[in-house]
Amino acid sequence: MRDAAGKLLSVALVGNPNSGKSTIFNQLTGLRQKTGNFPGVTVDIKEGRLRFPSGNEALLTDLPGTYSLYPTSSDEKIVAAVLTNPVDAHYPDAIVYIADATHLEKHLLLLTQLLDLGMPVLLALNMSDMAAEVGIKVNATRLSERLGIPVVSVSGRKGENIQKLIAEIEKMLLSLPGQPRKPFYTLTEQEKYVAEAACLNLGIKNLYQGLLIAHHRSWLPFLSGPEEAILDTIVKDKDFVSLRAQVDETLDRYDRFIPIVQEAVHRPPQFPSTPTDRIDEVVTHRWLGPLVFFAVMLLIFQAIYDWSETPMNLIENGFSNLNVWLKERLPEHWTTDLLTDGILAGLSGILVFIPQIAILFFLITLLEEVGYMARVVFMFDKTMRRFGMNGRSVVSLISGGACAVPAIMSSRTIGNWKERLITTMVTPFISCSARLPVYAVLIGLAVPAHRVFGVFTLQSLTFGSMYVLGVLAAFASGYAMKKVLRTRELSYLAIELPVYRMPHWKNLWLTVWEKVSAFVIGAGKIILVISIILWALARFGPGDAMEQAVQQAQTEALARQMNETATNDLVAAYKLEASYAGFLGKMIEPVIRPLGYDWKIGIAIIASFAAREVFVGTMSTIYSIGSSEDDVALRAKMKAATFEDSGAPVYTLATALSLLVFYALAMQCMSTLAVVARETGTWKWAFIQFIYMSLLAYLGAWAVFNLFA
């Protein structure tokens, strides 16, 4: 179905945050949906195709949940910005309003505002099955008469009456522009003056749109500077006080629709205690609450580690087998290397994260769907706010213990821009699973296995301290950024604690699917490019340095009567030294020497930018045991290593501790940076994060080295 200009007709889904809107959206569109960013902000708007049995099609847009057209957070603002701007790309031809039938009296405020915007509206009473269960009877016919719009009772979860809803939507679109309606709310004289003046100046027809624009003139993205100035003058001229008018309008609307609800809805007397109350007695209890939370988080953490191990190994082994297979069959040429060590290695680096991302989002969405996440926000809001974050940040930080990539993606649920940004910036400090192999090698190398206090070994204590260090760095940085960053956006807790419900599995799978594809497509491209650059740095060298290195290695191997494997390992080591990466390693040696590192560690640090775990592999190549990747052999080689100029041993306790601190604090993960850039919408924050974390790592490592040297 198209309009006069040939544009596909569009329907917007609007509703309160807990109305079950996304379930209805998923029921209506299935997999025919995509997520797009609203320009300027990183809140997603979901769009999908709605297919009618007649063969007609329309565009369905899922706008963020909001309680009213007087928004307080950035995602709520989108709804007001779209619905007051008839030339916006997302401006709908008609609206489907989703209301929770069990709390109709709380859900009609926004509906009455939409009624005044002049476009056709359809009311879908969601959760009708639950309403019936608790004995609430809604007379849809009466409601439809009183509101003057079609009303359909549906259940998104059970899929009841979805076909009827689709038929009603088509009927509404076929009769566009619909019957003119009397406004639900009558503007006061003052409001009328302001609204009319706004309409006149902006060329807008609908009076309520004009009024909303006058209210929101300071932040509406589509207003030009002069337009805003004109509106300012009009408003000042009439002594129009926006907040007071909002409150009066809201109260007036309630006064008008509450009698309608009382007429159309019959509800039984409230039961004193519901299952939700009994669950909350435990999960938000003074000390049981936090206990339950940490148990749940431990479980998630364990799941990410445990369940992802097998699929991750499968992906990694699959790629490395494919690499070996290709290398054996393709001619020895740099294009082969590009395909195997560059592109396929990069792809493997992207795809290997999928199991962790999928598991994390499955569990987090599950907690969100059942209604538990709002309780977490309630319990930890105070603690996290001290450090510039918000109750929801707890989830991101703990997920960061597995992997920062999905953890940062999970910070989307934070409404306040500043709190979300700080969460994004500090999450990578939490020691992720990729740091573990590095810690294992270095601790095994430098920290003696003494027992302390009879139970712990010094090694396990060092391991534990690395986690503590990460948490401290995250919180301290959060505190510092809280002081530095400024935002005009007000921060409110004021959230609804929804009734506990069984999850809707289709919603869950769709969310997991959406997050995984967002990562693979969004961050994947960037990771692939960086991976190819790093490959090129290690593969090519200046002039004929590479050929010379190969010859030198072969001569030396011949002289020392080495077997084929040892020769290949030596060639690889010499080649890496002669490559641009080796060149860079030597170039940065003066910078990292104060931390106790030589150029070999420099190469490993550069290579680790692809991913931290690359450290072990790179060190193996440098110490020419590349083919074995054996921790014990590597440690033996590293222990024997000396500085080329002074002959002093490289890996003293001080160097090892300094490296540990460096790896704990430095931003050495292109995947994380790519995700930060994607989530914040600009490379600026990824860049700042990189510089900030690297500086902190450098200073920390320097301090530790000098303390122990």
């Binding site: 009213s68 409230q270 319990m379 930890f380 105070k382 409110y492 807790l493 004021a494 604690l497």
Partner: protein
């Protein structure tokens, strides 16, 4: 001197009172949109584990409020 008004944080756990008015107009707009109006019966359910936030029930809906948010809601004595 007897106080002329109380706010939500003054309520004891399981105590209820009707809301009278809101001190913070911006928050009032938000709370009213969520269904908490002057006249709504508010029940204090519990205090957050680490304090500074309240779990309240307002006419069938459950809300979490920060201390300063709760303190901006005047309730009958």
């Amino acid at each position: 001197m007897q106080r002329r008004y109380r706010t939500v944080p003054d309520l004891k756990v399981h105590e209820s009172a009707h809301a009278l008015s809101f001190e913070d107009p911006a928050l009032a707009s938000k709370l009213m949109a969520m269904g908490l109006l002057p006249g709504t019966l508010i029940e204090m359910v519990r205090v957050a584990p680490f304090g500074k936030a309240f779990y309240i029930k307002a006419d069938g809906i459950r809300l979490a409020l920060r201390e300063e948010e709760a303190a901006s809601i005047l309730v009958e004595v």
